[in-house]
Symmetry: C2
Subunit: 434 residues, 2 copies
């Protein structure tokens, strides 16, 4: 059969990286796919910018829609990012009977339901492996390799920027702002780091993972999201003394007929594999009722790893180009008519152990007051330690690790302790994952 | 569409586990596959044996061939193990136009080339995810998710029995024979452990991984195989002192136009993730030129994990039942006409650092003799330590870690040292993986 012609929208880091992989490994890729795959057109914002790939035999345009309407193009790669324009491109490509491969997690998490409806109507594929955890093939693993399982929980380090910052605070003893500045210099964090450090990016990814794990529509709004900007070096080193590492996790867990869906910092026992995933690396743990515990580790971002996922999707699409549209792997793992609804557990009803750091005046009776309030709310204590007072401080930190507790009960106890005169700063709280 | 009818050959641990998963998770599985999947027939050796699954609605027979020839059966699951009879079953099933799913690593590693030829001729699928690393979806990851990559190396803990024994020797300080006896009691090792502990099972799996990673025919005979039966607690604890763990690995590595293919014990730096995979768990590290380093972790054996992989393959097969036979994922990742040949590097020409334990008489000048011989063969030393003599021993252990060295040169040095009068026992040698 003849070659498959590809149009790429966006030649930034991911777009140029993908073209480069297709050029460099073209022979191996065709040996696998059974057909030549060639990039014939690319849409860019600026025709004159320098690119990290060769532009030989590629026709450039600034008009992405012209590419979508080009009859010679078989598959569109949407690698521009952002939501509104990307949505128009993807929907138009589908209406022009073109399969789509995208790396756009925000687009899939927030507009995926509409996009997949259109794709199903047209009998086309929208592939999005690169949208979650970069080069780690976690979409395919959950969607195809665990199709015999009831998925119990999925949890992962889904944002390399957060993991880099937490790793550096831990290793170098600096605080958040200082490490963020270094991460920005190194290109590991954006100039505006909000989406990464406040957990939005991880929540986009968790939205997608939860949907394919549990066979439910995408529901970004239902996720409880916290970032890492209030994590201090002090908390990380106290946690370390207690045998824990602090990691920013996305967690999806089935509890009877409801789902826990949350993104926030966690303490992990230091001998867990997830606790030892450092720097910009990502990892995702999946538990299924048949397969047991599994873990997938790799680079979650960057030109090469993301391109690896985009090209894998592209080869899958090329293989399906002549096959029956109704017998492909469903976008959300389950057949569209078989998606179900789950209640999402309010964060107040979730049950976890928690680490608390109180800042209290250093005088007799304080610990008694605190433990009485916790006891009255049914919060039982696993470990407690009062730290030494720094020379110039009038208050001391008290670190507490609780047993499993309903978050709503703990919230009441925290509010009551914070209202006491002995409490001189808000209580810092980090959930444990066990 | 109507249900797909399955015939299962073998209802031992894996067969009964698979039927159990199909029964327990039937609703979720059909929601994914788009069709009901039901086991209608099973072939067993003994009709009266107790099974770990319900036999309701399943017709039992002792005649596996009758099942292969049954026109009502769409897919055959070969879960009986062994080679000769299994080969006849699989080939006959293909000739009867039935897709096949198998968990049989020995069969695929030694007869896969013939089996895939027959499947291609018939336009059918033979799926074998369960043959390597149990529930870890490593076949699909390499074959489909890394299709954009040149695979650089694949290395893994591929045999849970070996990993359990090495972990226990390390943790409990017992020696090989003692731990093996416990492993046999717990069902982690067979009564005849030869295939596991001598590396044959890992070599079967490495044969398959190398083939799909590099696009070459299956070639079990070319693999250099060593087991773990000569690893002692002393070596493991010396290695630990030097910052290493001892693991039994399968290694496939592309070196220019040749492949390193070897199965043997290795030292791994203790902060590597692979070094921290303990007990019966498996893990596989894959490096691709685009994706970088990835790692996959999970249970490598047992009813549930293996059933998870078998059912995933089955759902894939069900999805392809109506699609174009020439556009499926190729069995060995690359199109059959595109498989290539590689030279396999003779073990003498491989280059690694190595750990050596000498047993020598405790007298002046011995270290000088040893280091001179090593130096003459171009072996340079990274670390050396002479251990204290045990009260009742006339000889002392000397532990050496070399820099990278060609194995053939080291072999000559070892032979020369062993021929010296000061050397009172064979030298123990373990390669380092870095």
């Amino acid at each position: 059969m003849g070659p498959v012609n590809i149009g790429v929208v966006g030649l930034g880091t991911v777009g140029a990286g993908t073209v480069q992989v297709l050029q460099k490994n073209g022979v191996e890729i065709s040996r696998r796919a059974g057909r030549e795959i060639r990039v014939t057109h690319a849409a860019v914002r600026n025709l004159e910018s320098r690119r990290a790939c060769s532009l030989e035999d590629i026709e450039l345009t600034v008009d992405a829609m012209s590419l979508v309407h080009n009859q010679d193009i078989d598959v569109v790669l949407e690698l521009m990012g952002g939501c509104e324009h990307a949505y128009d491109i993807v929907i138009s490509a589908l209406r022009q009977k073109k399969h789509v491969v995208t790396a756009n997690k925000a687009l899939i998490a927030t507009k995926g339901n509409e996009i997949f409806d259109e794709a199903s109507k047209q009998g086309l594929v929208v592939a999005f492996e690169a949208a979650v955890a970069g080069g780690i093939p976690i979409i395919k693993a959950i969607r195809e390799s665990f199709s015999g399982n009831k998925i119990e929980n999925v949890e992962g380090i889904l944002n390399g920027t957060c993991n880099y910052i937490l790793s550096e605070i831990s290793d170098r003893g600096c605080d958040y702002d200082e490490v963020l500045a270094v991460a920005q210099d190194l290109g590991y964090a954006e100039t505006d780091p909000y989406f990464d450090v406040e957990g939005i990016d991880a929540a986009h990814k968790l939205t997608i993972l939860a949907s394919i794990a549990y066979g439910t529509h995408l529901n970004f709004e239902s996720i409880h999201v916290e970032g890492i900007s209030n994590i201090t070096h002090a908390d990380i080193s106290y946690a370390r003394e207690l045998g824990y590492r602090v990691k920013h996790l996305g967690i999806a867990r089935r509890q009877n007929d409801a789902l826990d869906l949350r993104v926030h910092p966690c303490l992990l026992a230091s001998d867990q594999i997830l606790a030892n995933v450092c720097g910009v690396m990502n990892a995702v743990k999946v538990n299924g009722d048949a397969v047991g515990e599994t873990l997938f580790y790799g680079a979650g971002a960057g030109a090469g790893p993301t391109a690896s996922a985009v090209v894998a999707d592209l080869v899958d699409v090329v293989r399906t180009l002549t096959s029956d549209p109704f017998n492909r792997v469903p976008h959300l793992a389950f057949q569209p008519s078989e998606l179900s609804s789950f209640a999402v557990t309010p964060i107040e009803d979730t049950v976890t152990a928690q680490y608390l750091r109180l800042t209290v005046v250093d005088k007799p009776g304080v610990l008694g007051d605190v433990t009485k309030i916790l006891g009255d709310e049914g919060v039982s204590i696993r470990a407690i330690s009062q730290k030494e007072r720094h020379m110039d401080a009038s208050a001391v930190p008290v670190v507490i690790v609780t047993h499993q507790v309903r978050e709503g009960s703990l919230n009441r106890a925290i509010a009551e302790i914070e209202s006491l005169a002995i409490s001189v700063a808000p209580i810092v709280r980090i959930r444990l994952e066990e």
